[in-house]
Amino acid sequence: MLNVAFVGKGGAGKSTIAGTIARMLARRGEPVLTIDSDPMPGLSVALGLGTPEAGLPDDATVAHVEGDRTTYRLRMTPAESIEAYAATGADGVRYLQFGKLHGHVSLGRSQAAFRHIIADLPRDQWHVIGDLPGGTRQPFFGWGDYAATFVIVVEPTAKGLLSARRLARLAPKGEKRRIVVVVNKAREGDAELVGARTGLEVIGAVPAKEHFRDADRAGVAPLDHLGDVAADPELDAVRSVLDNLLGKVVVQ
């Protein structure tokens, strides 16, 4: 099962690629849970959900008071919590939102629910695909800990490369953790360039073509824009990133 978090500079294309990969996987009949801790609504748009209310309400948790200390535990099992609170997006992808707080929902309870669901989620039941906010503030401050693989989405600009090197430096280290790069808005030769400049493994390069940009301008998912174009080079590149993550092919 995939257990992946997408990170990168703001505007690199994390949400678009993460959402598209989630849907491609779901179309193959796999159960996919997406986790959105970015307050910007990118992932939900890629999943055809617009800007939904899919956060964890206060009653997802039960308060336990011991002396002057209050802790929060899940009211239901992680699987039941997902069933109850995750929105269902296009292609059957489930979607849970953590980064945005609506109205009365309390930060402490919402975060506690998030951490419990992530910690105790049966990993053999769901592919987990997470989208983190741009930049370096959130990704490695506990929010991305669930991931076995970090995908750094890099636009091949000086800022994109510098940000990628910072993210790689900050990523939690561990023998079982894998850090890879997907180049977005790439021109010919950019996969090699980004690999050389970051020292990281590049598992794919999404070319700078019109399809993703047109979809973005229209505010719809690339997979829903002008239908599912069978031979679209951007979608083909994302599909090959998915295959790489699943261990089906080795690119480069």
């Binding site: 930049g135 370096t136 401050f141 800022k159 510098l162 910072r166 900050l170």
Partner: protein
């Protein structure tokens, strides 16, 4: 005059801020450019290059390491920890995340 540039990631905040800062400096104003992003790239857009941008000491670090009993004035802090960018813009970086921390 104090201007803050905000917007979605990748929309061009940093580039815009840098061009405005240098254009104002060229017209003879004294300009301080403050990079408040925890992934600070303003140095790149101002023309300091890769190494110059990543080597900047952040104001937060400079204050954390300080031993003075009273905080210096903002002008003194900018003077001591800022760097000169092209066209006479004085750049200071507020905070860069260097270590993953819990929470």
């Amino acid at each position: 005059m104090k201007i803050a540039v905000v917007g979605k990631g990748g929309s061009g905040k940093t580039t815009t801020a840098a061009v405005v800062a240098r254009a104002m400096a060229r017209s003879g104003r004294s300009v301080v450019a403050l990079d408040c992003d925890t992934n600070p790239n303003l140095g790149l857009s101002l023309g300091l290059g890769d190494a110059g941008t990543d080597a900047l000491v952040t104001l937060r670090d400079s204050l954390d390491e300080g031993t003075e009993e009273h905080a210096a004035s903002w002008a003194e802090i900018i003077e001591r920890f800022g760097v000169d960018a092209p066209d006479g813009v004085r750049l200071a970086v507020v905070s860069r995340i260097e270590e993953p921390e819990p929470g």
